[in-house]
């Protein structure tokens, strides 16, 4: 478990008491029109912990991540990041919290008019203005090296594979040294070898950086490999939460059915 740093988003008393819930989702409801997606969901993620969120397609897993990063607003309930409720914050007020979060989108969402290096440099250009051009360039190279993409700096996103795009997206998400990492289907659409490589990369980063991570995935093997805890969603709520072994021991029909895959 990581020690509290001076730059931590958590209040000291919370860290000291050991109740280091970096992300707390409480009774959150979210609907799109008549379609109810999340139905009073509760989840917490602690510092240094990786929570895998599983579930069938359309059960609101990605919506949950968008709510946590503030891209969508919940209909009711609260989302606390480092103890602060983000529901009523404006886009600029959310900025301070978002700087502490890294988000890997399902399709990487790289800026298609920028090179790989410029994509990774983008958050640094805006938020680390104290860095000189060469320092920024070094930091970008270091981040790309960390995700195993050395030597691809000048290539455009359209010229690299899906797996490489995910790695670039991950490097961009890590650029501001986040305390919370949100990964939306990090292995979706990748071949088994690339998927395992991404899993190993996430594990390595977790070990080195001790972030609180939430990983939305369909990939049971991946979830088992990279997470400490799993939450299975169905019909907008958490059916079961615990270790992979807890899920395997469960008598709930839906859990059994889900684990058959």
């Amino acid at each position: 478990m990581a020690t509290a740093q001076s730059t931590s988003m958590l209040p000291d008393e919370l860290v000291d008491s050991g109740r280091a819930s970096v992300v707390a989702v409480e009774a959150v409801h979210k609907s799109f029109g008549a379609h109810k997606v999340l139905n009073g969901i509760n989840l917490t993620v602690n510092r240094g912990e990786t929570l895998a969120v599983l579930g069938r397609s359309g059960t609101g897993k990605s919506v949950l991540l968008r709510l946590i990063v503030g891209l969508d607003k919940p209909d009711s309930g609260s989302i606390r990041i480092g103890g602060e409720d983000i529901a009523g914050l404006t886009i600029d007020q959310l900025g301070g919290i978002r700087k502490k979060m890294g988000f890997l989108f399902q399709h990487a969402a790289l800026y298609d008019s920028l090179s790989v290096a410029d994509n990774v440099a983008f958050p640094l250009q805006h938020h680390s203005k104290e860095l000189s051009k060469s320092e920024r360039s070094d930091r970008v190279s270091q981040l790309l090296l960390e995700v195993g993409l050395d030597g691809n700096l000048d290539r455009m996103p359209s010229d690299i594979s899906g797996g490489m795009q995910k790695r670039v997206g991950l490097a961009r998400a890590l650029a501001l040294k986040p305390e919370i990492l949100l990964l939306d289907e990090p292995t979706a659409g990748l071949d088994p070898i690339s998927s395992r490589e991404i899993d190993e990369l996430i594990l390595k980063l977790q070990k080195e950086r001790q972030m609180a991570s939430i990983v939305v995935t369909h990939d049971l093997f991946s979830a088992k490999t990279i997470s400490n805890r799993l939450a299975l969603l169905d019909q907008g709520n958490v059916v079961i939460e615990g270790s992979f072994e807890d899920l395997e021991r469960s008598d709930i029909a839906f859990v059994k059915e889900f684990l058959k895959q």
Partner: protein
């Protein structure tokens, strides 16, 4: 309910006795929906404008992106605007010579050309050309970024997309439209004089002296600077259409088309108000 409302129509278009249909109710419902959508669109546009204004007026300012957009909107539109202005100059020259000759007022040619180009045609042609080139470009670019989650990625990186993407583009349009209009006016006057000089000897010095005789700044500055409002309309509508896009490639195409159509339409409607406003304020 009127008799019309109880007339049922079968699939082949013939009336089916005994069956009731409600064409009036259906028309009424679609009219209500249309009016609702109309006001909703304006409401959302107002909210969007407020967000952009608030983001644009508060630091940090996105100077680098603004400079990039000034180049994109200004420099890259210059050839097209200059060409359109030049063509308009020739057209007005040909038409004016013919009309003025009929009324024996050929000596009025320089002033007619100058006033027609600078007060009327230059601004509106520049606005429409920029609306087509820049409006479609901004609409399509932002729509494409929206559907591929790039705008969400910008926001998730703690960067305000209203400030980075919308405010810079709208400001670039506002600042560049008057400059492009001056370029279009200059090209129009030059080609208009040239077209006239090919038919009858008229030195450029004579043309300028006669055309601008007795002219005041009030005659030329307001029509040129009213294009800042055109810039606001083009930038605002294109950014709004782009950033609210849904529905993949089809949505991107729709955003680009709507940006051009709506910006051009509102630009022409705004011109009606602006011309009256200028006539009243700068008589």
């Amino acid at each position: 309910m009127s008799d019309l409302a109880v007339t049922a129509v079968t699939a082949n278009g013939r009336n089916a006795p005994g069956k009731r249909a409600m064409p009036f109710a259906a028309v009424s419902a679609s009219a209500t929906a249309f009016i609702g959508d109309f006001f909703e669109w304006f409401g959302n546009l107002g909210i969007f404008f407020w967000r952009v204004l608030r983001a644009g007026l508060t630091p940090p300012y996105e100077w680098r992106e603004l400079v990039r957009q000034l180049d994109e909107v200004g420099s890259k539109s210059l050839p097209l605007v200059a060409l359109a202005g030049a063509a308009i100059g020739v057209v007005i020259s040909l038409e004016a010579r013919y009309s003025l000759s009929r009324f024996g007022a050929k000596s009025m040619f320089p002033a007619t050309l100058v006033y027609s180009v600078i007060q009327v045609m230059g601004p509106i042609i520049t606005g429409l050309v920029v609306s087509g080139r820049v409006g479609a470009g901004i609409g399509a670019e932002l729509a494409s970024m929206k559907v591929t989650e790039q705008i969400d990625a910008i926001e998730a990186s703690a960067i305000n997309p209203y400030r980075l993407l919308a405010a810079t583009r709208i400001l670039a349009c506002i600042l560049m439209l008057p400059l492009l209009t001056i370029a279009a006016d200059a090209c129009g006057l030059l080609t208009g004089w040239f077209a006239q000089a090919l038919v009858e000897p008229l030195s450029f010095h004579q043309f300028v002296e006669s055309g601008f005789k007795g002219a005041t700044f009030n005659a030329f500055l307001p029509p040129t600077f009213k294009t800042m409002v055109y810039g606001l309309i083009i930038g605002l509508i294109a950014c709004f259409q782009g950033m609210r896009t849904r529905g993949g490639a089809e949505g991107v195409g729709r955003a680009a088309t709507n940006s051009v159509v709506l910006a051009s339409l509102f630009l022409i409607l705004a011109d009606v108000v602006l011309v009256k406003f200028i006539l009243v304020v700068f008589p």
